[in-house]
């Protein structure tokens, strides 16, 4: 997710054209990659891996620097708006705060609800408020926790989800928070009162498989459109075989004002995959990062058409993506240990 709205494009800013997407860089690591984020300055990409580390890649030099503190996989990465702090959240339940560009990164602090953990069980996502004062985390304890970014103290706990909370994001105006869970329930919270305001129905992103006797799905990706008129939630739908993860990628787009489902963004081919992250581009299209039995894909939709207008096949499965603040580049974290950057403009001559 993006923690702050993308800056409005100036009239002479380069425009992205998804159909021109091409490779703009890649780095190979020694372990399968999990999550990735551009830092707000666009200088670095942070990427987590199955060896429990987070790697910071300097885009210009390709130099990688390790952030080692977690005892498990890290799936949550976020920055404060100024970009000087990066937050990492792991399946060890811990959240660490780091100086983004430290030469030898060590945690500045951890966010501790009790002991040394922010959540009991996995931390799934982190978001920082647009004013940088509040950090939101969520996880497998079915809770959303709010923290004071200044001192790391726990401020509030938002409870109500009945399943693991997969994603959390601040509304761009900073007054509300959105959280999405395994059952596809999307809850809106008033940050002034900590009351739940409403629930948006993303149930098509979830299934209880009677044969498998387990839940499958969840809000794997979430993003507001730059004007906050739309909220996009991505995941898997129409699951026919939970054992093998066979379903179809889906992005549910809500009209945020009414809470009604505006569009279900699907794929023209049955890709048998999952949307692992979703980005609302400032030019109005939606990008979905899909992986599954038909490989990895970057999918591009206009929100007035359920089918994608462009399907960019990736060389390998990817489990996360991020959109650069320039609106022109996308980074993808791949199972084959490779971090790839894609550029949505014509290749340089």
């Amino acid at each position: 997710m993006n923690d702050a709205p993308a800056p409005a494009a100036s009239a002479d800013a380069p425009q992205a054209d998804p159909k021109l997407t091409h490779a703009a860089g890649e780095w190979k690591y020694t372990s399968p990659l999990l999550s990735c984020r551009f830092d707000p300055s666009g200088q670095f990409v942070f990427c987590s891996a199955q060896d429990n580390s987070v790697q910071r890649w300097n885009i210009a030099s390709g130099q990688a620097t390790a952030l080692n503190a977690h005892d498990s996989w890290v799936r949550a990465l976020a920055f404060n708006p100024s970009g000087n702090h990066v937050y990492t959240g792991g399946y060890d339940g811990r959240v660490f705060v780091w100086e983004t560009s430290a030469e030898q990164p060590t945690p500045l602090r951890s966010l501790n609800a009790h002991g040394d953990v922010a959540h009991d069980g996995w931390v799934r996502a982190i978001a920082v408020s647009p004013d940088g004062k509040t950090v939101a985390t969520c996880g497998n304890d079915n809770l959303v926790r709010l923290w004071n970014a200044e001192d790391g103290n726990l401020q509030n706990v938002l409870s109500g989800h009945s399943k693991h909370v997969y994603n959390v994001m601040f509304h761009p105006d900073g007054t509300r928070l959105i959280s999405g869970d395994l059952k596809g329930e999307v809850r809106e919270w008033d940050l002034g009162t900590s009351e739940q305001l409403r629930t948006l129905d993303g149930g098509t992103l979830w299934k209880y498989d009677e044969g498998f006797r387990a839940d499958i799905g969840g809000v794997r990706g979430i993003d507001f459109s730059p004007d906050a008129a739309l909220l996009a939630c991505g995941g898997i739908s129409e699951v026919s075989n939970a054992f093998a993860g066979i379903g179809n990628p889906l992005v549910v787009v809500f009209d945020y004002a009414t809470g009604e489902k505006k569009q279900s963004l699907v794929t023209s081919k049955k890709l048998r995959g999952t949307i692992w992250n979703v980005h609302c581009h400032r030019q109005g299209f939606v990008i979905g990062c899909d992986s599954g039995h038909e490989g990895g894909h970057l999918l591009f939709w206009n929100t007035n058409d359920p089918n994608e207008f462009f399907d960019f096949k990736l060389p390998n499965l990817c489990y996360d993506s991020d959109l650069h603040s320039d609106g022109l580049r996308v980074v993808t974290a791949h199972q084959d240990n490779v971090l790839r950057i894609w550029r949505m403009t014509a290749p340089a001559a």
């Binding site: 996989w73 498998f212 387990a214 939970a242 054992f243 093998a244 599954g292 499965l317 199972q335």
Partner: protein, 428 residues
Amino acid sequence: MKCQYACGTAEHVLERRKFLGTIAGMAGAATLGAPRMVQAVMPELVAGNKHIIMIWLAGGVSQLETWDPKPKTNTGGPFRAIPTSVPGMHICELLPHTAKQMHHLAIVRSINTKENDHGKGAYCMTTGRKQEPVADYPHLGAVGAKLLAPEDSPLPGHIHVSPGGSGGSGNNAAYLGPRYASIILGDGNPPRNTTPPEGITPEGDNRRHAFRASVNDHFAKRRRWAESDAFLSSFDQARQLMERRDVFDVSKEAAKDQERYGNSEFGKQLLLARRLVEQGVSCVQVTHSNYDTHYENFDFHIEQLGEFDQPFATLVADLVERGLWEKTLVVVMSEFGRTPSINQFHGRDHWGTAWSVALGGCGIQRGAIIGKTNDNGTEVADREVDHGHLFHTYLSAIGVDSSGEIVAGGRKLPMADPAAAPITELLA
């Protein structure tokens, strides 16, 4: 009294007491894994009041997410290992409640069945034999029912509490005959058709039964077969079941106990297993579904083992507290484990090469760890065993000489694979 069948063969039904008498007689000379068999002990006492609870984690639970974690290796996945009540023994963090009961349990970490197919793996693990086209072998529960269940028990000796299912009976007794096949309690519900049909009074039902019995007696005077006996006994058993239908009603258990086992379907079914054992059922299988996690192995194991952990730990603690642990063999098994390598969908695939089971009770040594795998779990590093060794061990644990034979259909058949033997160091 020994009956004579129309086929003229020797008694079909296992001469259970004779068999046990034989093994008791052998016990003095037995040196292989049966130190508890005392020659002077009467057969009924050797096997008396023993039970088996098999907890079947269908689809193949991951050994790395349960009994043999490999954190911080290239195969370990995201979970950490936690200490248990046995010093030096660590299991996966997904089993925090079970970890506190491990001093009652043992782990076998060195299983290699060389079998990665669901059906064939299940056959191996439940019968102790490889599936063969020319022979069929009975399920552990059927063998256990044959050896442990009193012949006059009003309850089935072999019950399978299954997720879903119609509530009929299983086809898993092989040559032991249908009497020892599992009665399936679909979703933990009582056996089907055990409520009296509407419109028939008890008196009318008794008259019906008497009429059927007289016709059957007349038939049996000239044409008596093992199958007809099994058929007749099924009627008697059904009537007894109808009278004791509340045995299957877990809501009869104390509210406090129901709370301790939790609201999950599996929790209720494990409480039912306890209830059935306490009511005298010899062998109970409870199946928990499903662990066939080719996709998102870690998410699914959180969900499934989250259901498994607390009820299972509660069951172990209860059996110990109620004095049933020494009489009840509890085994947690699957058809195979899961691949150490994490596939491209964050799943793990079928893996019969190096995996684990946990077991305890009866004659199983508490707190034991048998065998080990290498650093990242890709192969057995010490004390390789297979389904045959495990099956022998189960029988030894309930006090039976597993090298003995079962007589069925006039033939003497080894009750366990003669090529294997008990894991003697696992026996207390």
